[in-house]
């Protein structure tokens, strides 16, 4: 049913303005698949639409690779819908290019951070991992636990101690796993915990990318997810970091971050996944949001995800526009400005921000090795 033809030709575009009647039962792109859905007013089979969006994004890498060495990318797979769908699309594209003797332009490696070491859900995922290896045998897949951050980022020990403050005592005689849980447990609120977890996971992915010679990380965040990330980032005082946490761009560690699913809604990815046999054994379905959690006990990230989901049902375009807007911001040009020891965000204000009181108050009270956003999530902060 799915033949990965990534090029778009003009014929398909003329088809758009043809009367709908003639196209009734046909995908506007591959012509052979029966038309399955109308996505944003275009009648496409669901694969085509989604794959096209991703290929448009990925064509950038191809352009890099055509007259130079192949670009190495790192794809972190979380077993969620989005990253799994991204993997499927990229794999199909790669296969198709190999079959046709066309240049790859880029290649990618897969990184799995063991879900069980991130969230204790009790759900075994070994079978999902096996399915991943079985269905995508052409790729290098690395599987590492969250607590391997101590191995990959040696200075992390010191940073954590500094960050968690005097009340936290890091017992180096314990296992890495225990030490990481102790650190995470020292952070009191769901918002701060989620925030710091995200920072640590990002660090781990970046270090792994560097070690494996990857110059970019391609994240599987959907449009909805990026919108939620942008809103949550702003709400957590991390507005200046949106230029790499939500936008395509250079991260502070010298590894580029790319979000090829940025034009796709979560709902569209779910549609794709639902008819994709290779993914059925891999994807761990999202936990349905619990209704009986009081707002104040949610994390900010969770609140924003829910907000984007609720509003996105009625205003998908408005939500999508949030990520697009964030993507238009310029990266900060403050050269040699001090950066945060934990998240590498700017310490102090972005150049050109003359705000007087906000940043100063938080950062001046403590050492300035951490940025505003990280200070807010510190264990000693009572908020």
């Amino acid at each position: 049913m799915y033949s990965p033809e990534p090029r778009f030709n003009s014929r398909h575009f003329t088809a758009v303005i043809m009367p709908a009647k003639e196209l009734n039962k046909q995908c506007m792109e591959c012509k052979d698949a029966e038309f399955e859905l109308t996505v944003r007013k275009r009648q496409l089979c669901r694969f085509r639409f989604i794959a096209h969006k991703v290929h448009s994004r990925m064509s950038v890498y191809r352009a890099f690779g055509l007259d130079g060495p192949k670009t190495q990318l790192l794809l972190p797979v979380s077993f969620g819908v989005s990253s799994s769908v991204l993997l499927h699309i990229l794999n199909a594209d790669r296969q198709h290019r190999l079959d046709n003797g066309r240049p790859l332009g880029y290649d990618f490696k897969i990184l799995v951070i063991e879900p069980s070491t991130v969230v204790a859900t009790g759900i075994p995922f070994d079978q999902n991992y096996e399915a991943l290896e079985k269905n995508f045998p052409m790729h290098t897949i690395s599987r590492i636990p969250f607590h391997s951050i101590f191995d990959h980022v040696p200075e992390m020990e010191e940073i954590m101690q500094e960050y968690a403050g005097s009340k936290f005592i890091d017992d180096s005689t314990r296992s890495n796993e225990e030490r990481l849980s102790a650190f995470r447990a020292s952070i009191s609120t769901p918002t701060s915990r989620t925030d710091v977890d995200t920072v640590l996971l990002t660090r781990l992915v970046v270090e792994f990318a560097k070690k494996s010679g990857c110059e970019s990380v391609i994240w599987g965040d959907s449009d909805s997810r990026l919108a939620a990330k942008a809103l949550a980032g702003v709400a957590k005082g991390r507005g200046a970091s949106l230029t790499w946490q939500v936008s395509d761009g250079m991260s502070p560690w010298g590894v580029r971050f790319e979000y090829p699913l940025r034009d796709l809604y979560k709902a569209e990815l779910l549609q794709y996944e639902s008819v994709c046999a290779e993914l059925s054994d891999i994807v761990i379905p999202d936990q349905p949001p619990s209704d009986n959690i009081l707002t104040k006990n949610l994390s900010i990230d969770e609140l924003m995800l829910r907000y984007v989901q609720n509003q996105g049902a009625k205003y998908p375009g408005v939500m999508a526009n949030v990520a697009r807007t964030a993507n238009k911001l310029n990266p900060s040009t403050s050269d040699n400005a001090p950066t945060c020891a934990l998240c590498a965000g700017l310490v102090g204000n972005v150049k050109g921000n003359s705000g007087v009181t906000v940043a100063n108050q938080v950062e001046d009270n403590h050492s300035s090795q951490f940025c505003y956003g990280c200070m807010r999530s510190r264990p000693e902060e009572l908020c």
Binding site: V60, G233, A240, Q311, K314, G317, V322, N330, V350, S354
Partner: protein
């Protein structure tokens, strides 16, 4: 629970918890720290100069009342040398503005400040009651909002005053940041957080000294100093639509009370990251003129309505459809992607600032919105109902969303 001692003086009983840092303070220390922080904001931004005449946009509500009280206190304590007065706008809504204006009149006596009241009838020839009589209750907020935006500037100009301060607080600024992000409005994102906005057209500087003050602390300050302020909702929007951004911000505040200032911080940083070419034409921005209302109308100030969101959704869908007619993104061979631009990075629209041909007020159009609305009103005087002609209200979807958004609040009744 045993009484908690004040974090600052360690003696008196703590009565407030600061949202910003969770410090527990007694009444006296809280009042002192609140005032000191406003003072630091004023000094840190060189907001005033000695001898400056400053008009306080006063509505009788908590924000402007607290602003007047604090400015009077600080002006005396730190010898700013300001010549302060109160400036009120009378929209002409009987039973609503009447009462709040009485509050402002008492404030003028309490704070020993001269008061000027400028009416819509005087400025525009129409009171809001008359506008409502003509256009009905639906859509009247549009008129009020547009008229109000200009009224303070015009009032100040009339008094020969070049600086108007308004009671916008941190919650308002945070709301504006979120709104502009949701609206994808980069020019406004770049301006919305700045403490001073000015416009060439009226030569009047607008500023918000309470920009870093939490709404909650403003209410507490008013309570603990027993300030005389007026609490009500406009009678024309008794269940005022509370936009997405506001609900979101209040939820955020529950999760992490500091988040309001965190959003302000993010907003300030992002403002500095907005590409220069989309920021708007330097000083001649519309910020002062079109983005703020005088003292906060419960339904319109910095908020989007359902209609606006629905209209934007429609627009975006159309853009999307148009975009899919474009050809695939082509990159010149070997070209490096510009840092931090999506491959589809599109040109962002810029705003050009002109002056209204009728009233000379700054406007992005040939005729400013207020004059356009007045045209409609005058043409149809006395009785014919007219459409709200500013292209932002889709009544059907607006009221649907409004119902949806209000459901939570109404369900318990």
């Amino acid at each position: 629970m045993a009484p908690t001692a004040c974090f600052d003086c360690k003696e008196a009983r703590a009565v407030i918890i600061r949202p910003k840092n969770r410090h527990k303070l007694c009444r006296a220390c809280f009042i002192k720290v609140f005032e000191t922080e406003v003072h630091e904001t004023i000094i840190g931004t060189n907001l005033f100069f000695p001898g400056e005449r400053v008009a306080i946009g006063a509505s009788g509500g908590k924000d402007s009342t607290v602003l007047a009280a604090v400015l009077k206190t600080l002006n005396e304590r730190y010898n700013y040398g300001l010549d302060l007065c109160l400036l009120s706008i009378d929209e002409g809504i009987r039973g609503y503005r009447d009462d709040s204006l009485e509050t402002v009149k008492r404030n003028a006596v309490q704070y020993e400040m001269p008061l000027d009241i400028l009416g819509y009838s005087e400025l525009y020839g129409w009171t809001m009651d008359q506008v409502v009589e003509q256009v009905g209750k639906k859509g009247n907020c549009t008129y009020c909002g547009v008229f109000r935006r200009q009224a303070l500037d015009r009032g100040a100009a009339r008094l020969g005053i070049k600086h108007v301060v308004t009671g916008h607080n941190a919650d308002d600024v945070a709301e504006t940041v979120m709104m502009n992000l949701l609206r994808g409005d980069l020019p406004r994102l770049s301006r919305g957080t700045s403490i001073v906005t000015s416009s060439d057209a009226s030569d009047i500087k607008r500023s918000k000294p309470l920009k870093y003050a939490y709404e909650k602390e403003i209410v507490l300050y008013a309570h603990h100093r027993q300030l005389d302020y007026f609490t009500t909702e406009c009678i024309y929007s008794p269940e005022a639509f509370r936009g997405s951004a506001r609900t979101l911000i209040k939820d955020l505040e529950k999760i992490r009370p500091s988040s309001i200032l965190d959003i302000v911080k993010s907003g300030e940083d992002m403002a500095a990251l907005v590409p220069v070419e989309v920021r708007g034409a330097g000083k001649a921005t519309q910020a002062g003129a079109e983005e703020e209302s005088a003292g906060g109308c419960g339904s319109q100030n910095g908020r989007t309505s359902g209609g606006e969101m629905a209209a934007m959704e429609k627009q975006l869908t159309e853009n999307d459809a148009a975009e899919s007619l474009e050809t695939e993104i082509k990159l010149p061979s070997g070209a490096r992607v510009k840092p931090n631009r999506g491959p589809t990075g599109k040109a962002v629209k810029t705003q050009t600032i002109k002056h209204c041909e009728r009233c000379n007020y700054i406007s992005s159009q040939r005729i400013c919105k207020a004059c356009m609305l007045l045209d409609g009103l005058n043409r149809n005087r006395p009785k014919t109902a007219i459409e709200v002609g500013v292209g932002m209200e889709d009544e059907e979807s607006s009221s649907t969303l409004m119902r949806q958004m209000e459901r939570a609040q109404l369900s318990a009744t």
